[in-house]
Symmetry: C2
Subunit: 212 residues, 2 copies
Amino acid sequence: MAPPVLLDLVQQGETISLNAHETLFSEGDPVQHLYCVAEGTMVLSRYSVSGERQIMAFLFPGDFLGITFEKTFILGSETLTKCTLLRLDHSVLGEVAANDPDVWQAMSEVTWRFLRGSMELTFTIGRKSAVSRIASFLLYLSFRQGGFSSPAADISLPMGRQDIGDFLGLTIETVSRCFTKLKETGCIALPSTDRVELINVDALRAAADVVD
Amino acid sequence: MAPPVLLDLVQQGETISLNAHETLFSEGDPVQHLYCVAEGTMVLSRYSVSGERQIMAFLFPGDFLGITFEKTFILGSETLTKCTLLRLDHSVLGEVAANDPDVWQAMSEVTWRFLRGSMELTFTIGRKSAVSRIASFLLYLSFRQGGFSSPAADISLPMGRQDIGDFLGLTIETVSRCFTKLKETGCIALPSTDRVELINVDALRAAADVVD
DNA sequence: CGTACATTTGACATCCTTCAAAATGAGTGG
DNA sequence: CCACTCATTTTGAAGGATGTCAAATGTACG
């Protein structure tokens, strides 16, 4: 899934470790490194003046951070769990990219994947009810954790309810109520607070309004 | 604002004209051309299975369409007004880009600008009230129409209330009510249905929750 | 076992939507 | 130039979905 060219590159860099709920960089920090998540889960987010957080993306192993042509980060990044990351100096990336069009290609590919995700999120938040948003989110996690050919039926939730709410534009209470509702309607089971089993995927897809 | 390299390129192509409310391309169509809006206003949008429209961006003169590495469009495009566009075959773009890193650079720049806009929209829809969304939207138009150094105080609305609603995740009624509310609070004046005057920009900024 | 924190549930308020009707505005023919 | 018609916008009233506030339950960790 992740472009091999970039993986190769980033594996030449250093490995860094972070604990859960640490900040890797903040909005406005100068862009110095290209990162790749090796283990753990992170978020990219933006805060309003009043301190509200909008999570723009969840990042899982294989995802990149810092693929940008901006001088400063327009999003902040925090860990949700313990994480290990691969890090490459941006100047090195620049040098390599100047001589290797494949690197440009790969960077564009990653950027476009991110853009698609961003538009998907806009669509989800703009046009869907709370239950639909949660259902969509669970299907998204299912794909991310199992791959597109074999979506996972047993999902882990490395993020808390607050994080999910900050992603989908909902409050924790609403998130919780929607989980309960999906459980009651037989779409999912909740064996524990950080785990979801997809019981009836068709019904879940219908709830997410992605019927085809 | 628009990268000169791309403008030069696209000016070598053909000029096409469209009437108001025509479709330039639809979601899923093969990407064959790079377009640049010369005159008029357009939208990029996506439809849900139930036929609801989410507008992802408004396009004004100088904006590009079809800067993508995908084979097919992931968004559809429609005109709001009479438009003229400059069109360049994508194969030509590919050839030039292969030899000229400046073109890649410019394309990335445009992509990132679009991405920033997309995240701005996510933030607006996810975290703001109806009035805040409308206020933010008006400030956005003010910048687009006057430039960042001299935002316009007299704004034209080439889009209808439905379009604004489809952009901000609101109904036409709510959009209308918010306009009325902003008028009543002295932030704006509505000399006609497609025109807005910014009376009290500070108050509007406060309403938009972008105080700094 | 006990504390601290996250999640769930409940009751109520609020905002936005929905449905319906009135007002406004643009285009057309008399 | 004025009346007529159609589409769009505005306004009103009522309902519903989500947010807010508060309490209870559940879970992790010392």
